[in-house]
């Protein structure tokens, strides 16, 4: 008899069936991972269990049965929910210490010595004990998530529901988050439900539920699940058959292939499931661009770029070189100065010191900067799309902003929509579309004026595995066919391996700048790129 039992739970939100007939149970101390694409129903099920959304079906926890949020009310003192979104539940203007007091008070916790000891321990584990008086709005993303977690843990919940706590968080903070979570839940015997976009994290959990289109399509421990798809995973084959899909290093096929088997990860589940449901994405084909591709080999070069905000040095003498036909990965923890750096390269922030050259020409005047902007395509973290216009209208708008003649623009938009695979969504509003489609259409918007440099600021954050794999294939194709320089930031260390070169930043300084193989040679003990990353932070 499980402590938590979910029985045939369905959630309908905004007239859309978000999750249908989900059932599972969990015992004391168990940790269960929710994985699945964006919009697969993970959050809705979590909200139902936390009693914050109306649902059909039955949930029982500690022998209390509830069918609606109002029936769940009596259990709320035992449940902790951390909804999706960095720092979502925090008040920007309150300090760290005030947050802890507030969360303790609204849950009516008696603030005795035992509580204070527990609170201080949580603060120490989160590394926030030195920042008690800092306002939440001034914390980095990683710190915000740690603060949210300890605020959720303050009342020692017996059921902990965490919705993508680590998305958009750097590897270092992620490890700290997991340390806090594991320690506390083991001590308290908490049931933890955690959704995550990182398959390595899911693999560590007791059990994994795989969500797809509003249904739980598989559950079990990670090893079993991985084993079930081992036969369909191969080392990448350059050609494709109708029943196969490829990423940059792996090919998945339902039919046996004449190829060596590869070691699958949980990600393989998504591909095999898509194949089984015959949701095969068209392979990526990029045609050469209209403009010429014979620009100089060093596209952009920055030397000693420095930016200070008051006493705080955000970027300290950073050098960077972007070459023709190269993907450069810019990595670093939250608050290491990546965004500031990109903003300077974009001409959005004035440069305090150092120089910036574009195609061999130094950027000095405002006119230069205008030219700089017209040679760069930029996809921001929160795709800057207009949500009141359709995809087509958005693209037309961006085209006229870049003063592209209408006839050329229409042709280009038609071509990109086909090649980037969103031509079926041209008349939809961005908010109705999955993140993966929005991501590709933002990319198209950034490429309309045929830039020589493409900046991508965490474009894959929150996007599901298949869409991510496709996106990377697109980037590689763009690099090869268009010879443009691509600068990308990401928190997925597995993606870093697809970059040609990596620049690692820490506290506003550049600490590494090398190719992937060279980095592996320099760190012989590291098995994955994540370990290399962490070595720079120890």
């Amino acid at each position: 008899m499980g402590m938590l039992k979910i029985d045939q739970v369905s959630v309908t939100h905004n007239k859309r069936r978000a999750i249908k007939d989900a059932s599972f149970s969990a015992n004391e101390g168990e940790i269960i991972g929710f994985i699945g694409a964006d919009g697969a129903g993970k959050s809705s099920l979590m909200h139902a269990i936390a009693g914050v959304i109306r649902f059909e079906g039955k949930i029982s926890f500690q022998n209390t049965i509830y069918h609606s949020p109002s029936e769940a009310q009596i259990l709320k003192s035992k449940i902790g929910l951390m909804p999706q979104g960095i720092g979502l539940v925090l008040y920007d203007l309150l300090t760290v210490g005030e947050h802890l007091d507030f969360f303790a008070n609204i849950r009516d916790i008696r603030q005795d010595d035992r509580f204070n000891e527990y609170k201080n321990r949580l603060l120490r584990m989160a590394g926030l004990d030195k920042f008690i008086d800092r306002r939440a709005g001034n914390l980095s993303g990683g710190m915000m998530q740690k603060l949210s977690l300890i605020c959720t843990l303050l009342h020692r919940p017996k059921l902990l529901i965490l919705d993508e706590p680590t998305t958009g968080v750097d590897p270092l903070s992620r490890i700290e988050l997991w340390k806090i979570l594991d320690q506390i839940r083991c001590e308290e015997g908490t049931i933890a439900l955690v959704s995550t976009a990182y398959m390595q994290e899911a693999a560590q959990m007791d059990r994994v539920l795989l969500f797809d289109e509003g249904e739980i399509i598989a559950q079990g421990c990670a090893k079993e699940l991985i084993k079930s798809v081992q036969d369909m995973t191969y080392v990448r084959k350059p050609f494709t058959t109708p029943h196969s899909m490829s990423t940059l290093d792996t090919t998945y096929s339902l039919e046996p292939l004449e190829a060596e088997h590869a070691e699958p990860t949980l990600e393989a589940l998504f591909f095999v499931n898509a194949l089984q449901k015959n949701r095969i994405l068209p392979s990526v084909e990029i045609t050469p661009r209209d403009g010429d591709t014979s620009f100089s080999s060093v596209v952009m070069e920055a030397q000693g770029l420095t930016k200070t905000f008051g006493d705080f040095v955000a970027n300290d003498r950073v050098d960077i070189r972007l070459c023709r036909g190269e993907i450069l990965g810019l990595l670093g923890s939250n608050g290491a100065g990546k965004t500031t750096f990109i903003k300077m390269l974009l001409g959005l922030l004035p440069i305090d010191d150092g120089e910036l050259n574009l195609l061999g020409k130094r950027i000095e005047t405002a006119k230069d900067r205008q030219e700089l902007k017209s040679s760069i395509g930029y996809v921001s973290q929160h795709f800057a799309l207009y949500n009141d216009m359709t995809v087509r209208e958005n693209l037309h708008y961006f085209a006229s902003m870049h003063q592209i003649p209408m006839d050329i623009a229409i042709k280009r938009i038609a071509r990109y929509s086909e090649e980037l695979g969103f031509d079926g969504y041209m008349d939809a509003i961005p908010t109705e579309l999955p993140l993966g489609i929005n991501q590709r259409f933002s990319l198209a918007a950034a490429l309309l004026h045929e830039p020589v440099i493409l900046f991508l600021d965490e474009p894959t954050s929150g996007v599901d595995a298949i869409a991510r794999a496709q996106f990377w294939q697109l980037l590689v194709a763009l690099k090869e066919k268009w010879k443009i320089a691509i600068l990308i930031t990401t928190h997925y260390m597995s993606e870093a391996e697809f970059c040609d070169r990596i620049v690692l930043m820490r506290d506003g300084c550049k600490v590494a700048d090398d190719t992937i193989p060279n980095l592996y040679t320099a760190h012989p003990n590291a098995k994955t790129f994540e370990e290399i990353f962490l070595e720079y932070y120890r």
């Binding site: 009310q73 929910l81 539940v89 309150l94």
Partner: protein, 370 residues
Amino acid sequence: MRIGILKAYIRKELSELLRSRLIIMVYLLPTMLMLLFGYGIRMEVTHARIAIIDNDQSRLSNLLVGKFEHSKYFDVTTTVMDEDEALRKIKQAQSDAIIIIPASFEKRLLKGQTTQIGVYVDAAFPSRGSTMESYVQGVILNAASALIPSAPKGSIVINQRTLFNQAMRDEDAIVPGLIGLVLLVAPAIIAALLIVKEKERGTIFNFYASPLSKAEFIAAKLIPVFLLHSINIFILLLWALYLFEVPFRGSFWIYWLASELYILVSISIGILISVITRTQIVAVVLTVMVTIIPGFMYSGIIMPISSMVGMSRYEAHVFPVMYYNHILYDVFLVGEGLTSQKTQLYLVILAVYVVILLSLGTLWLRKEIR
């Protein structure tokens, strides 16, 4: 209601209001509205620029000019110029009215013949124009009766008496109504922001996921605004008494009680709007629409409720501003206080408003994602 929880929420709201500088709006907005409208709305006309062309230059005409010169309503310039030139002055907005005394003014009057005085009034603003016109007439009639005692007595009798606002001061008529408008608009806007802000930001999850009850949440949002705006009751009273010099004839306690009740009504409207909207901008626009327009229409500033007919009369009774303003005009200008049954009834009606609006707010507030 658990006091500890409420205290935590109230402390949080207050420090947020303080740190986000929204507190400035809490105290600036009411005073600003009061000063803008208090000085801005003028029904009476003073210091109208009037040019008198005295073609007679006689004793009687001088007396008439003197009457105008001694009136606080007119700033007089006496000139000799021709009519066209004078009219041009009105066109150029250098003069508000022209009075032309004909050359034979004294002679004809003494002979008992009718004489005509030319009066030109700039009526670009009709109400101002007609006000000036009646002032001019008043002064001339008054002068006429003084000048010609031989005129049959009783032929001109003007017996004016104004009640409650004996001085006929605009401030006395407008400022109490303004308090009713300001205390309806300002607390409602702040209250409307409080819940919807959490919805927009995502922090509303803290309420959804915690054992906090709906009533506790509403109370936690209501109390900080109530406390902050209670101070405005006194600030506005001070402006009324010392800046606009409005008399205060009633009981301070009735003013205080009615005002606190009225703030609660206003906050409840804000909370209700906050509950049904999703974004701050919609909440603010909606609040402004449902408070400022009726607050202005039915405050008695523009027209008294008793002179309204048909729909507008019913509408006036639906909005709480009418009841509060009745009490306000009573405490400022009349002073009957609780001996008036109407005042008693209206206090009860305000309390009923609070109960109904807050119950609706609590009923409609959802402790779940919609």
